[in-house]
Symmetry: C2
Subunit: 250 residues, 2 copies
DNA sequence: CGTTTAGTTGAGGAAGGTCAATCAGCGTGG
DNA sequence: CCACGCTGATTGACCTTCCTCAACTAAACG
């Protein structure tokens, strides 16, 4: 049952795409050899640092961001346990964004070259890596659409729905509520709004009975209603590579 | 000198990342075996179509887009000759966006499986594919920042600078002007603005002597001034994988 | 030489930003 | 156990940017 290996977030994440062989799992576990505890607010790296390693996130949330000339901050990606941080910079020698922990967590660094080893040694892992990369692109694209084309209420709702769904895909939680360890300021920087307006929007959503938030727990009583309101279509989160594998691999 | 192969946009594009072997080139040329002429406005595919092929763009510009519930359109990516269209959907069985030709052009379809063949047969091509994918992610991310954090004048300026730079990297053109075969409506859908405001912004930029546009030709008389104004930093366009290769491959 | 298509210009309006004051929770130290 | 101060959230007043609608002009095109 290879239960033991599912302790590893990254193995669990990769398994989501395709059944891994024993050897694949061993290769993956290589990436998580040096777990490091990091406290909330720790900066894993900074824009312009030299980039020659990735990082797997084993516990806690993290986010990448850019500081603009005028001092405002745009958050680019939210990372959750099982995600690989820094994939974007594979073809670059410099970091293009900074990364910070949103809460206490555990990360494992590994050099870019390890990915080349993966490419060399396993077709399945290569394909999954590529799938993960393209999935990430899809997530960013959806966020772009969200920022460009929706109003504040929809932006916020859409983000909450995306997060809820992402969590459901990895951590099984049947409820209509989830933990969201992010301040309103962070939400603002994520959605391109001002903190003030996030607050207003959140109370508006609450007044309409669509979203409730207390402390760091968010509840969505009527998923369907919220999805409708936010123009949320989860197809972009539901990727599936099996057809690709089945039609070609043994 | 393998000059003959540089006729192929895609070979030229890949060569930008790393020197290809003869065999690599042959493999790549496989992808361009069925060139098809397409007229401006042709839709290559539509959201929700089943996705099992990519497409290389040999001539002309194309763009992917999404239509929102309220009828507005967001353009996601601009493709230029040498680009691969549809990478995003590698891990998906459905198209997540539609793609249209911005002008007359030539494309070549090839099935997703061909990429798996590449993975199987060439480390270099695998790595380059991955680099291209991560570069595309970087481009989208920068566009996200552009949409979320800059005002109309900066958005437009930033987009023009990015396009200018992208063209310079593939087509050598020494001048301070380039061809931009896009209507203002298209620019609006690209930048999340209204066509009206694009027009105003363009005249504002012209009044300030920063950008001139007549017909489909754009001139940037003072690159440095415009970059400053737009908060444009070209690091995100200058990727370089050589260090990665050199430190590990033969 | 009309007719379509793309761009320009003006006036009014809405969404969201900014600034500032206030409040609530909470950890810290006395 | 309480006072203090910190951070994060809320609320109000006012302002800016960009949108919308609409009329108009300029090319492009048969």
């Amino acid at each position: 049952m290879k239960v033991e290996h599912l302790d590893s977030c990254i193995v669990r994440h990769f398994s989501y795409y395709y059944d891994l062989t024993r050897k694949d799992e061993e290769l993956l576990l290589e990436l998580e050899r040096s777990p490091t505890k990091v406290k909330a607010g720790t900066r894993l790296w900074e824009e312009r640092d030299s980039a020659n390693e990735f990082c797997t996130l084993s516990r806690g949330w993290a986010y990448s961001y850019r500081i603009m000339e005028n001092g405002s901050r745009q958050i680019l990606e939210l990372y959750m346990p099982g995600d690989i941080i820094g994939l974007r910079e594979f073809a670059f020698s410099q970091r293009l964004a900074s990364v910070k922990m949103a809460e206490d967590g555990v990360v494992c660094y590994f050099p870019h070259q390890h990915v080349l080893d993966l490419f060399r040694q396993s077709m399945a892992l290569t394909t999954i890596m590529f799938a993960i990369s393209s999935r990430q692109q899809v997530l960013i694209t959806e966020r772009l659409v969200n920022l460009a084309r929706r109003n504040a209420k929809q932006k916020l709702a859409h983000f909450l729905l995306e997060t809820y769904q992402r969590l459901k895909q990895t951590q099984a939680n049947g409820h209509d509520s989830f933990r969201l360890p992010l301040s309103q300021e962070l939400l603002a920087d994520l959605l391109g709004l001002s903190p003030v307006h996030v607050s207003r929007t959140l109370t508006a959503l609450s007044d309409e009975g669509l979203v409730f938030r207390e402390r760091h727990v968010v509840t969505i009583p009527d998923l369907k209603a919220l999805k409708e309101m936010a123009d949320f279509d989860d197809r972009y989160l539901i990727d599936n590579m099996r057809p690709l594998f089945n039609s070609h691999n043994s």
